[in-house]
């Protein structure tokens, strides 16, 4: 299982001795390129041309975030998995209103199932989430339902937090600590979804629930949403309630952001949640949560090719 690397300090990535090296004044670390799935940079990191060359050869993307934890962009090697058939079929499912609506609705069901799974594990009351009708005649209406679902969820989520206030979701920049954590977690999840989609034949820009916008891989947004409650929100609840993330882990200017120490705590917990193995009932083996994201992609591929009908993930752990 290849690993994702997270860089939380400034420095340079360069090629040396046929592998990747991260270097700054205090530290010199080799990154085993053959065992790397992707690299996330949360601080300014420079890449030398040698580094770009070896990243391309080994097909390892590098993702960049800004100081508030928002996704800024990626260096993505030339596409490895290309299938015209899948892309054409995918576009067909996007263009046909009925087909698109089916998939969009399934995504919503997936989001709701994950919310319920999380609330259940915290013994919270999820009956309101259950009651929200997943209906709508257009993707725009479904997006409306989705935001209603999230609103409902945020309310219950806020009541589960033992420390910190969380009243409303604010973005760009986040206005309080919990919003900062949500923003950062969502960005990481989005790029992980992108990395996993790239391993399937799906085109990451053709989405079903979200509108495909320019410069945004919106299919990754679709997919990431299903996993948000059971990864990002689970990690936030755990870290906050166990006081592993505290007031002193944040800095404040226009918005609120994690400092170096806080960033490391949060990222390492999120990473271990993503690489956590759960027993897959059908495969009868342990698979990581991250791999489940790719499985969603595969089952979407089978759906658009007409092999089987897409049913979203129902988190069972």
């Amino acid at each position: 299982m290849k690993k994702a690397y997270y860089i939380t300090q400034m420095g340079v990535l360069e090629r040396r001795g046929n592998t990747l090296f991260f270097e700054n004044e205090n530290l010199k670390r080799a990154i085993p390129i053959n065992s790397t799935s992707e690299i996330h940079c949360f601080k300014p990191v420079s890449l030398t041309s040698g580094a770009i060359k070896i990243l391309s050869e080994k097909n390892v993307p590098v993702h960049f975030y800004n100081k508030y934890g928002y996704y800024r962009g990626s260096y993505i090697p030339v596409e490895g998995q290309i299938s015209g058939t899948v892309v054409i079929k995918q576009a067909e499912h996007h263009l046909d209103p009925e087909k698109r609506l089916y998939i969009a609705r399934q995504f919503l069901e997936g989001i709701r199932a994950s919310m319920v799974a999380l609330l259940k594990s915290y013994e919270a009351d999820y009956s309101h989430i259950r009651e929200v009708q997943v209906e709508g005649e257009s993707p725009a209406e479904l997006m409306g339902t989705e935001s209603g679902l999230w609103k409902e969820f945020y309310g219950i989520f806020a009541s589960l937090l033992k420390h910190f206030e969380f009243n409303e979701r604010t973005r760009r920049p986040p206005k309080d600590e919990i919003n900062a954590l949500i923003s950062l977690g969502n960005s990481v999840l989005y790029t992980v979804a992108l990395s996993e989609i790239r391993k399937t034949y799906l085109h990451p820009a053709i989405s079903f629930l979200h509108e495909p916008l320019e410069r945004r891989y919106s299919l990754a947004l679709d997919l990431a949403d299903i996993f948000k409650p059971i990864t990002v929100f689970r990690v936030i609840l755990r870290l906050v309630n166990k006081k592993r993330i505290r007031k002193e882990h944040f800095d404040r200017d226009v918005g609120v952001m994690l400092n170096d120490e806080g960033l490391r705590v949060f990222i390492s917990e999120l990473n271990s949640e993503l690489t956590r193995k759960v027993l897959h009932p059908r495969f009868r083996r342990n698979v990581s949560v991250r791999y489940l994201m790719r499985l969603e992609g595969y089952s979407l591929v089978r759906h658009i090719l007409g092999d089987s009908t897409y049913r979203p993930l129902r988190a069972w752990w």
Binding site: M1, K2, K3, A4, Y5, Y6, I7, T8, Q9, G17, N18, T19, F22, L27, R29, A30, I31, P32, I33, N34, S35, R264, I267, S268, N271
Partner: protein, 85 residues
């Protein structure tokens, strides 16, 4: 699977073996590497090492189920492994 590679090779080839292992595994301390690899990677590591080493050299690879072990460090940990840099 998780593997630990320990090698004892002629000084002429130490750098070569080190440089190669670094592309797959974490360097822990002199002549010791460890890390999670796939079966294909393990095969490649074995095959490449066979080509690199010479007479009287020896490389040991310990295969562990899932990194399921406890590490006791005495003295300084020269290069703690981890994905958060």
């Amino acid at each position: 699977m998780y593997i630990i590679v320990v090698y004892d090779v002629d000084v002429k080839r130490v750098a070569k073996v080190h440089r190669f292992l670094r592309t797959h595994l974490h360097w822990r301390q002199n002549s010791v590497f460890e890390g999670e690899v796939s079966r294909a990677q393990l095969y490649e590591i074995k095959r490449t090492l066979e080509g690199l080493i010479g007479d009287g050299d020896s490389v040991l690879i310990y295969e562990l189920p899932t990194g399921n072990f406890t590490l006791h460090v005495i003295g300084t940990d020269k290069n703690p492994a981890g994905e958060i840099i």
